[in-house]
């Protein structure tokens, strides 16, 4: 098959490739939010965390020449933002959703403030695994040119799933998230657990940002994120607070973003805005279908403020 004659197969391959390429930040932020919400708090500020991660990752990669150092910086910045969120939420009578919005505003502002000098330079990017060597079709080879962070994300999902089920830490997080009073009575440190969970979540969201700036699309610009971080709270509902589900949900959202451009390359045009909004409509529909007045969403942690 010559590359020029892929036609609709090309669309399918583009969606596959797009799903892999675009899904990684969704995967990291949905895992981040899952962990935070499992501990009983909502972090609506992951957009700010993600942008801060993207900026610091790009900046450090540019200054040091090492993209992996950039990823580490992004993770560190993300964890710091998670700590900030947790620290304010640990105070009495503070609404976690509002703190998230503050973090969104602050993080975006700080990332843009400190990121000005990095808009122009080209920073070293992360290498990729070329898994498509078996194929002679360039489109397939390109679709299977996968960032190591994608696998890191899948590994994180597997580890998180394992830890929730099998470790003492996982048990404590779930206990604290389901019923803080009971957890406190059992002697578990509620605020400390939530702080660590939120910080770890921030770390993951920072890596999501580093993926955007250092892997794909691989640049630092103020318009880099189109709301990937804000979407985290809805992705988690889609995934029903299960780490493994985050993988499928992220691939779905990633593939959906590839659909619009791919369809236009075979001549289907005119509805790109509506196509772009399809994932949001789908999430809303799913939310309506699975919610109920009488009981909370299946799988939702009991302490979650946005679920009561």
């Amino acid at each position: 098959m010559s590359p020029g004659e892929l036609g609709w197969w090309g669309v399918a391959i583009a969606i596959l490739g797009g799903a892999i390429r675009v899904s990684t930040p969704y995967l990291f932020v949905s895992l981040a939010e899952t962990l935070t919400e499992k501990s009983g708090r909502v972090n609506l500020g992951l957009e700010g965390t993600l942008l801060m991660g993207a900026m610091s990752g790009y900046g450090v990669s540019y200054l040091s020449g090492s993209p992996w150092l950039g990823v580490a910086a992004a993770a560190g910045a993300g964890a710091a933002f998670g700590l900030l969120h947790a620290a304010v939420c640990n105070l009495p009578r503070v609404n976690d959703v509002a703190v998230g919005i503050a973090l969104f505003i602050f993080g975006t502002g700080l990332a843009f403030f400190l990121g000005k000098p990095f808009v122009q330079p080209q920073a070293p990017r992360l290498p990729t695994f070329e898994l498509g060597g078996f194929s002679s079709v360039p489109a397939i080879r390109a679709a299977l040119d996968v960032s190591p962070l994608f696998f890191a994300g899948i590994a994180a999902a597997l580890i998180m799933r394992w830890a929730f089920v099998n470790t003492r830490w996982g048990l404590i997080v779930r206990a604290v998230g389901d019923n803080a009073e009971a957890a406190r009575a059992a002697g578990y440190p509620v605020n400390l657990t939530r702080t660590l969970a939120t910080a770890t979540g921030g770390l993951l969201a920072g890596i999501a940002g580093a993926f955007l700036s250092l892997s794909y699309p691989g640049t630092w610009a103020e318009g880099l994120s189109s709301g990937q971080g804000l979407m985290a709270v809805t992705l988690v509902i889609f995934a029903r607070w299960r780490a493994l589900n985050c993988i499928w949900v992220s691939l779905l959202f990633g593939g959906a973003s590839a659909l619009g451009p791919a369809l236009q390359t075979v001549g289907v045009a005119g509805y790109y805005y509506l196509l772009g909004a399809a994932p949001y409509v789908l999430t809303l529909a799913l939310l309506i279908a699975s919610s109920s007045r009488r009981h909370r969403l299946v799988g939702a942690p009991g302490e979650l403020s946005i679920n009561r």
């Binding site: 503070v94 919005i101 503050a102 973090l103 602050f106 990332a111 709270v233 809805t234 509506l274 772009g276």
Partner: protein, 347 residues
């Protein structure tokens, strides 16, 4: 009285702390904080013209802040101002185009009413979903923002597009006669007056009416509301509709006072700015007027700070974020300061 003094004192203290933190941030970035604050004052409040610029920024924020503040009274956290504003803008244009031959004042009223109604319906959807299906209103209004943005872009790029506007996709224009000018003597468009009036009405509504009292019970103690037989669904829906109506009105004001037509210039963050203002004001509609001016002034001074110090424009956003954090954290102080305790109440 003491409660109000407490809120004022604690919020003022929080803002002072925020300004100190931002001063450290400026210092760390090699800037002279005092010089920057002098320019912030000059650019935001210091001259009649600066005040004009700040009030222009504040006008839409007053209305979008109500979109969060009114439902907050019913215990809801609505963040859909951006989407309601877009919906209001689109329907304001549709009304203006559908009824082009009205007397100009009536036309303006019709256009504004259409915008407010669209915004009300938009957020009422979230209220209905909350009441009927238990769908969380924060999530649904976030999703509705994205959906509204896509619909707006789709409509102005095709179905509602005015092809005579060549450089950017823009909808049909409302009749020129429906457009409103500036407030005499102030140099700010009529949206400012509408915003301030809406805040006063919202304040009176929530404080002095049965509706306001009932909504307060629903928000403060849903169990009690249920026990005394309050119509929770209707109150939820109504508070969402009122909030959404304010944001929709903000969209209509952008049409009748600024753009005359819908385009992506409607969605530039007024909705998100409104959330900030509502929380700084602790959801009090009267305080919204003041905090909208504060936030508007900070934004307006950003330009001058950029020009004078070559500071990134995002500096104002950093400052707003720090203020937001400090005000939220200051919630912990309520009831802890002896001066403001009611006599006879133990600590």
């Amino acid at each position: 009285m003491r409660a109000r003094a407490e809120a004022a004192a604690i919020t003022a203290g929080a803002i002072a702390v925020a300004l100190a933190i931002f001063a450290l941030f400026l210092f760390a970035n090699g800037l002279d904080p005092l010089a920057v604050y002098a320019v912030l004052w000059l650019g935001g409040f210091g001259t009649p013209f600066s005040l004009q610029a700040s009030l222009t920024q504040a006008a839409p924020l007053m209305l979008t802040a109500l979109c969060t503040a009114i439902p907050a009274r019913a215990g809801l956290l609505v963040i859909g101002g951006e989407g309601a504003l877009a919906a209001g803008g689109v329907f304001a244009v549709l009304a203006g185009v559908a009824a082009p031959a009205l007397p100009s004042a009536l036309g303006t009223v019709v256009v504004c009413a259409a915008g407010a109604a669209a915004g009300a319906a938009w957020i009422a959807m979230a209220g209905a979903l909350k009441h009927l299906r238990g769908v969380n209103e924060t999530i649904s209004t976030l999703l509705l923002n994205y959906i509204a943005l896509a619909l707006l872009n789709h409509l102005v790029s095709g179905p509602m597009r005015d092809y005579a506007v060549s450089l950017k996709p823009t909808s049909w224009s409302i009749p020129q006669a429906y457009m409103v000018g500036t407030l005499p003597g102030i140099g700010v468009h009529w949206g400012l007056a509408l915003g301030a009036i809406a805040c006063v009405i919202a304040f009176a509504l929530l404080k002095y009416t049965v509706f306001g009292f009932a909504v307060g019970v629903v928000g403060g103690n849903p169990r009690a509301a249920q026990l005394v037989g309050l119509p929770i669904g209707r109150l939820t829906l109504l508070s969402c509709a009122l909030g959404g109506g304010a944001a929709g009105l903000a969209g209509a004001v952008e049409i009748v006072a600024v753009h005359g037509a819908a385009s992506n210039s409607l969605t530039v963050g007024f909705g998100y700015g409104g959330i900030l203002v509502a929380f700084l004001a602790r959801q009090n509609p009267l305080a919204i007027v003041f905090f909208a001016l504060l936030v508007g002034g900070i934004s307006a001074s950003g330009g001058l700070m950029q020009r004078r110090f070559d500071m990134p424009d995002a500096a104002t956003q950093v400052l707003q974020g720090i203020i937001f954090f400090c005000v939220l954290a200051s919630n912990a102080l309520y009831g802890r300061i002896r001066l403001f305790r009611e006599p006879g109440v133990a600590a």
